[in-house]
């Protein structure tokens, strides 16, 4: 992909911690997302009663929407067109209207003929940092100043 990144490979070092970025998902954002996804409201993601029917205490953010949020935070940081691989595990239900903390740590860097790659460990947490909603990894391809 064509790069439009604002971050260069040389700007990043192994072990760097990025963030956390704080994002919040409002009710109407989830409704909009679900309408695209072919899962229009009301459903367990948008409606209290529907959520309780499936054993949830409240409506939750869909997994693929939380992935889109992580992707957005990555591209906010590194630039569009840099994400090569995003691999997430959904470990907890994500509430609406609560601050979500998305952080990265650089776990590997390498350069080869295919580009300038960095690997990040990812977490998304709520108010309790040691109980992540999401863990995962991302691989990005950054431009080089060289």
């Amino acid at each position: 992909m064509t790069q439009s990144a604002r971050l260069y490979f040389e700007d990043v070092e192994l072990g760097d911690e990025i963030g956390p970025a704080i994002v919040t998902v409002a009710d109407d954002q989830v409704v909009d997302f679900c309408s695209l996804w072919g899962n229009p409201a009301p459903n367990r993601f948008t409606d209290q009663e529907q959520a309780e029917k499936v054993g949830l205490s409240e409506p939750i953010v869909p997994g693929i929407m939380s992935m889109a949020l992580v992707s957005r935070v990555l591209t906010d940081w590194a630039g569009a067109g840099t994400v090569e691989d995003l691999d997430l595990v959904f470990r907890g239900t994500i509430p609406h209207n609560q601050p979500l903390h998305v952080g990265f740590q650089i776990s590997d860097t390498d350069q080869d003929e295919s580009g300038n790659h960095i690997q990040c460990d990812i977490t998304m947490t709520g108010p309790v940092p040691d109980r992540p909603y999401i863990i995962g990894t991302a691989r990005l391809n950054l431009p080089s100043r060289g």
Partner: protein, 150 residues
């Protein structure tokens, strides 16, 4: 080779591709997707900016194709559990998806495996989907892990 597990399911699904689509990637879909997740990079919101950056049209954020990935897939007839949730997702963008593209998807059962933790046994059902555009170019590979628990 699929992982061996103790629970019955339909192994004949391995090696079978399930086609779905076409999925039209419109400017409206990209706009709503971008706004719903707060994506404001101009290449995802403005066709002129995307063209100036070398793309053919307004670009879809890299995980947008996962919207189309939940198409109808076969029931694997797993003889375990009743409750399901979305356990994980992997997206590997291969090429830009832009407004006006028409995607098709080819999905297959990748693996079914178990994990046992504090809350008991969970079975992970992993589907892998390859998206191609109207020119036959692979634009993304997506894996979805659905978890079934007791």
């Amino acid at each position: 080779m699929p992982t061996q597990i103790d629970y019955e399911y339909d192994h004949s699904l391995y090696g079978v591709e399930h086609e779905s689509g076409p999925f039209q990637v419109t400017k409206e879909i990209i706009d709503v997707y971008a706004s719903s997740v707060g994506e404001d990079n101009p290449i995802f919101t403005d066709a002129s900016a995307a063209r100036a950056a070398g793309f053919g049209d307004q670009v879809a954020p890299p995980t947008l194709c996962a919207l189309f990935e939940r198409g109808e897939l076969p029931d694997i007839k797993l003889q375990f559990g009743r409750r399901q949730f979305h356990g994980g997702q992997r997206v590997e963008p291969r090429a830009a998806i832009v407004a006006g593209d028409t995607l098709t998807a080819s999905s297959h059962l990748k693996d079914v495996y178990t994990k046992t933790g504090r809350t008991g046994t969970m079975v992970h059902v992993v589907w892998e989907t390859t998206f191609r555009n109207q020119d036959g170019i692979v634009v993304a590979d997506v894996q979805r892990s659905q978890v079934v628990r007791e």
